[in-house]
Each structure stands twice: as structure tokens, then as C-alpha cells.
């Protein structure tokens, strides 16, 4: 797709290699990706069904959508983590122009994971091994991609990085996780996951179990990592829509394995053009005085099963403004009001009857 928004200028590291003049400055490109599970009865579940997007330097793409819509499956696909029962159906994923589909898991672990694309684990606080010191866990990260690294150089690297992310490196590196307060542990997990300067960081609900103050600190750290060019772009998944508003530059709303709306944060949060994404945004609650009288919209019913093809719009069954032809006409993504939308009525007043209220 065409690229038009201004790119925030990123300073070029003085000693770093000059970047090759790539045809696009996309860091991650996902093209018509389809990913499926095979259930224990042999049924095929098309959990991600034709998703395309690209992430540029400095971009944070937020992904929102109901439980089970395929967000985690999509990021597994983007990372090339095809572990049965998850399989790649078709489509391509390129990081820095290089395709990662078709790699063996072993090759992927060696060349891609952690290095080009890294994941910040969901239960970050519990992902540290309690019996090992922080420095040993961090050293493992380096050794997994560079077996020949010597102790001295590893130590130097760790101290440099931990200092850079605002930690007392000597103290923290020599501690066991239990000896550290929660906020510091969280920094360590993020510090370790991004040690190898991955191009893309995937954060799948990185803050869902955190209180608002800790959550804010985590987001600040992620922003610092981007500003310092330790990481260059991010895929950010969360159910906290207000958080998405502040963190992401673009938002994709997923429904039943597909993108139904994909645009800038402002467009999707405040001027959505697709009934599901409008309803989702309309269900946001906030602690602003006066909001109590506003009733959040709950969408009744359940998303469709993905084990067989669905004729027509996937949301039609539950759409409060579905028209007679919605159940039969297949919906394609098209550009309406400057963003991608999957709804035949996106450019009409019909969709405006849903949600909103922001």
C-alpha cells in the first residue's frame, strides 16, 4: 500500500553502517498472510485469514479485537513461530526485506527470533527463572545467537545496556529476580528481550496484569528504547483501548481472523467507519466524572466459527445495522476516508448509528 504520512526523522548512528537504499522503508511486511490450526479432530481452523500490513521505522501498530479474533495467532505467524497445531497456510512475512516463511524452527530461532523480531512476554514478571541471576539469563540471550562471545565482552555489553535503560547495572545484574522490586524486574525482562536490538518488538498484552502506574512505566521504557533506536518498530496488542490511543501510531481492528479497519490511531479511535470497530471503541469506559451515565455497548452473540468458509460479512450476524445483503455479499478491504475498511456501508450514514459516544 502507499505510504504517505510523514516519517519522524531518526538520527543516523555516526559509526553504524549506512542503510542500503531499500525500495521501501518498511521494517516488517506482511502480505496476505493466512495461518491455521489443525484441531485434534483434524478440522482446519483458519485463525488468520488474509492479513496484510507493513510497519515502518518508528511505527507502532496497535492491534485490537475481541478475545479469539486471532491477535496472538497473527503475531506467532509474523514471528515465524509455526509450532503444531499452528501452520502457515499461505502469504509472506518479510523482515528487512527478507522472507522468514519456510524457515525451519531451528533456523528461525538462530537467525530471526530475538535478533530481528522479539517478543515481550505476557506475564513478564513471572517469566524470569527464580533460581538464576539476571546476568546469567541475559548472557543466555547473547550466547543463543553468538556462541563464541567471551565472558568479558558479554559483561561489558550487559553493563552498557542495563545502564542505558536506567538500571543500576552492577547491582541488578548480580541479583536474583526475587530480590528486585516489580518495576525493576519488568525493566529487566524488557532489557533482556531487546538485548540484540531487534527490529520489531511484539508486545502481546505486556501490561494486562499491571496496575496503571507500573503500566505507565513500562510504556515509557518502550518509548525510550525506540527513541534510542535500540528497537525500531512495534506491534502492540492490548485490550486497553485508551492505552492503544496513547501508544500506537496506527491501529488495526481484527474480527474473525481479518482486519476490518486499519488506519491511523485518530481515525480508528475517533472516527471509525466499520460497525464492529465503532462498537469496540464505544465500549470504552473511563473514570472521567460524568461518564457514569454513558452506557458502554456490549455486542451480543459470539464470533463465527472459522472451520469453514463464511459467506458474506463475518460480522453480519451480530451487526446492529446489518442490511439484507450483508450476509451474502463478501466484504473486501477498501479505502474509505483515508483508511482501510471492510464494510459495504462504510461510506454511508448507516455505520454512524453504531457506537461512538467518545
Amino acid at each position: 500500500m502507499t505510504v504517505s504520512a510523514p516519517v519522524r526523522p531518526l538520527e543516523q548512528a555516526a559509526s553504524g553502517p549506512t542503510p542500503k537504499p531499500a525500495k521501501s522503508n518498511a521494517v516488517l511486511e506482511v502480505e496476505d498472510l493466512r495461518v491455521h490450526y489443525v484441531t485434534r479432530f483434524g478440522h482446519k481452523i483458519q485463525a488468520v485469514d488474509g492479513v496484510s500490513f507493513s510497519l515502518k521505522q518508528g511505527e507502532i501498530l496497535g492491534i485490537a479485537g475481541e478475545s479469539g479474533c486471532g491477535k496472538t495467532t497473527l503475531v506467532s505467524g509474523c514471528m515465524g513461530l509455526y509450532i503444531p497445531p499452528l501452520f502457515h497456510t499461505s502469504g509472506d512475512v518479510r523482515i528487512d526485506g527478507k522472507s522468514i516463511v519456510g524457515m525451519t524452527l531451528e533456523q528461525n530461532r538462530k537467525e530471526v527470533l530475538g535478533q530481528k523480531i522479539a517478543m515481550i512476554p505476557q506475564g513478564a514478571l513471572n517469566s524470569l527463572n527464580p533460581t538464576r541471576k539476571i546476568k546469567d539469563m541475559a548472557a543466555d540471550m547473547i550466547l543463543s545467537h553468538d556462541e563464541s562471545a567471551d565472558k568479558k565482552s558479554i559483561n561489558d555489553r550487559l553493563r552498557e545496556r542495563f545502564t542505558r535503560i536506567g538500571l543500576d547495572a552492577d547491582h541488578v545484574l548480580n541479583s536474583y529476580p526475587v530480590e528486585l522490586p516489580a518495576g525493576t524486574k519488568q525493566r529487566c525482562v524488557i532489557g533482556i528481550s531487546t538485548l540484540l536490538n531487534p527490529k520489531v518488538v511484539v508486545a502481546d498484552e505486556p501490561t494486562s496484569a499491571l496496575d496503571v502506574s507500573t503500566q505507565k512505566a513500562v510504556i515509557k521504557l518502550l518509548f525510550e528504547l525506540m527513541d534510542q533506536e535500540i528497537i525500531s518498530s512495534m506491534l502492540f496488542i492490548t485490550h486497553e483501548l485508551p492505552l492503544l490511543r496513547h501508544v500506537s501510531s496506527s491501529i488495526a481492528v481484527m474480527y474473525a481472523g481479518e482486519f476490518v479497519e486499519y488506519g491511523t490511531t485518530e481515525q480508528v479511535i475517533f472516527e471509525g467507519r466499520q460497525p464492529y470497530s465503532r462498537a469496540l471503541m464505544g465500549s470504552m469506559l473511563s473514570a472521567e466524572p460524568g461518564q457514569k451515565s454513558r452506557k458502554p455497548v456490549a455486542i451480543e452473540g459470539a464470533p463465527p466459527k472459522l472451520d469453514k468458509p463464511i459467506p458474506g460479512c463475518r460480522f453480519a450476524e451480530r451487526c446492529p445495522v446489518a442490511q439484507p445483503d450483508c450476509r451474502t455479499t463478501e466484504q473486501v478491504l477498501r479505502i474509505v476516508a483515508g483508511r482501510q475498511v471492510r464494510c459495504k456501508y462504510a461510506d454511508t450514514e448507516v455505520v454512524e448509528q453504531v457506537g461512538g459516544g467518545l
Binding site: 500500500m1 507502532i60 496503571v212 507500573t214 483501548l241 496513547h246 457514569k292 455486542i299
Partner: protein, 271 residues
């Protein structure tokens, strides 16, 4: 009987460990929970919300102070099932509450074991169906399914279906919406309100999302380091916070309409 007190806590504390290494999880708190009200406990991680909730459930005992339920002290001895018939809970992680090796339906049916007199098998089936419908799940949708085959949001509704079966006087909901999307969250809040209205339930809602707490509760309690630092009607607490903790909490909430963290111009690939 509307002003009757469900719970009365008088200077209760819960201390873990001894001496230097002891942790005071709940620190000398006094409060009352009235019949048919929804109260929310809000606060940062580790402030003692879950420990307090567990004391109400008789899963923890106060190390000092007095805790009354329906006017009588909650004792640590005797059959706890008597207490659990009246006070039930839904917890944060719905998957850990169900056994992965049994179907959802068989586990819902086994809830009836808590009853003093078990209904007939036919009636059990019927009541399970009703409970599923109450949380908007078609019984057919989950027929023969195991917990791992459902999404987080569906699982959370299963926990509420269990509550519709058990019909306790009090429901303790500890972060029941942490794993679900905004729409499902709105529907879970609706179910909680339905439980309050249709089954006259008293609800203790534990969360660190003050937005949810504000929307659903009749009283709001802000906790910090084991103490209750602010309490009152939600509007009062939000509009006139008295403690710095509450002010900071309100400040840290990402709100769509307010600046939260400063950032440069965003970058987009989407058009």
C-alpha cells in the same frame, strides 16, 4: 432489610511471616459492606486487595481484628462449605479455575455438589442450560468442549455461569475482566449488574481499573499498602480525591481525551 450489613470489618489486619521479614498485607482496616451493594476495591499491585478478598471468602484469616458476616464472626474452624454456599468468587485467571481434563459442562454440573440437597439429574441439566443462557452462551456452543478450546472471554463467562447456578448472597469478583476485550468487558459488567438486580446479590469487585470501578460500583475503596486511603461514592472519590495515592492513580490512567505520555509525531504506514 436493605440497610442490613453483609460484612463488618473492625480493625482487621493480615500479617505474613514474622519479625523483620514480615509483610503486612492488610493493615488495620475497618469497613462495612451493605446488603445488595456493589463495592469496588481499587489499588496498585500488591496493595492487599486479593488478601482482603480472601479473608471475606474465608480463604485467609485475619491475624488481628474482627470480621463479621451477617452479624456473626467468620470462624476459621468448621465446614467452610457452609460459608461458600453464601459467598462465592470469580478469579483473575479463568483457566486455572477449571480443570483442563473435564468438559466445561461436566464441571458446571459438579457445582451442584456444594448444595445441601442436590437436585435431580434432569433438573441439573436444565439449570446448567439456564445458567449458560444467562451469560449469553448457547448450550450447544460449548457441548463437549474442554476449557482450552474456549477463548479467555468465553471462559470468564463460564465462571459467571457457575455463579448463576450457585446463587450465593455475595460474589467476590477479583479482576474478572482482566483478560477480555472492551466489549466483553462491558457485557461482564452488565452480568454483574444483572446478578445484583435479579438475584439481589452483594458484589465485591476487585480491580486496578478505576474506570470499571467507577462505572459499576455504589462505593469505591482505594487501597494502598494495606490501608484504605480513600472511600466513598464513586463520584466523590473521583471528583474530590483526598489522598495523594488516589490523585496519582487518576493521573496515571490513560484516558483518550487527555495527554498521558509526551511523544514525537507518530509514524504511519496505514493509509
Amino acid at each position: 432489610m436493605t440497610d442490613a450489613l453483609k460484612f463488618q470489618a473492625k480493625n482487621i489486619s493480615r500479617v505474613f511471616g514474622h519479625g523483620k521479614k514480615s509483610v503486612t498485607a492488610v493493615d488495620n482496616v475497618t469497613f462495612e459492606i451493605r446488603d445488595r451493594e456493589i463495592i469496588s476495591l481499587v489499588g496498585q499491585s500488591g496493595c492487599g486487595k486479593t488478601v482482603l478478598a480472601k479473608m471475606l471468602l474465608r480463604l485467609e484469616t485475619p491475624t488481628s481484628g474482627e470480621l463479621l458476616f451477617n452479624g456473626k464472626p467468620i470462624t476459621a474452624t468448621g465446614d467452610p462449605r457452609n460459608h461458600w454456599r453464601q459467598v462465592q468468587a470469580v478469579f483473575q485467571d479463568p483457566f486455572s479455575c477449571f480443570n483442563q481434563f473435564f468438559t466445561i459442562r461436566s464441571q458446571l454440573k459438579s457445582s451442584f455438589r456444594l448444595f445441601e440437597t442436590k437436585p435431580s439429574p434432569g433438573e441439573i441439566e436444565e439449570r446448567v442450560d439456564q445458567a449458560l443462557l444467562a451469560v449469553n452462551i448457547k448450550p450447544k456452543e460449548v457441548e463437549g468442549k474442554y476449557p482450552f478450546e474456549l477463548s479467555g472471554g468465553q471462559m470468564q463467562r463460564m465462571l459467571l455461569a457457575r455463579i448463576f447456578i450457585l446463587k450465593p448472597q455475595v460474589l467476590i469478583a477479583d479482576e474478572p475482566t482482566s483478560m477480555v476485550d472492551a466489549c466483553s468487558r462491558a457485557s461482564i459488567l452488565d452480568y454483574l449488574l444483572k446478578l445484583k438486580e435479579e438475584l439481589s446479590m452483594t458484589i465485591v469487585f476487585v480491580t486496578h481499573d478505576i474506570g470499571l470501578a467507577y462505572y459499576i460500583s455504589d462505593s469505591l475503596y482505594i487501597m494502598h499498602k494495606g490501608k484504605m486511603v480513600d472511600r466513598g461514592a464513586p463520584d466523590d472519590v473521583i471528583k474530590h480525591p483526598t489522598s495523594d495515592v488516589t490523585k496519582q492513580l487518576l493521573e496515571d490512567i490513560p484516558d483518550v481525551h487527555r495527554q498521558w505520555i509526551a511523544r514525537g509525531t507518530p509514524v504511519h504506514a496505514a493509509e
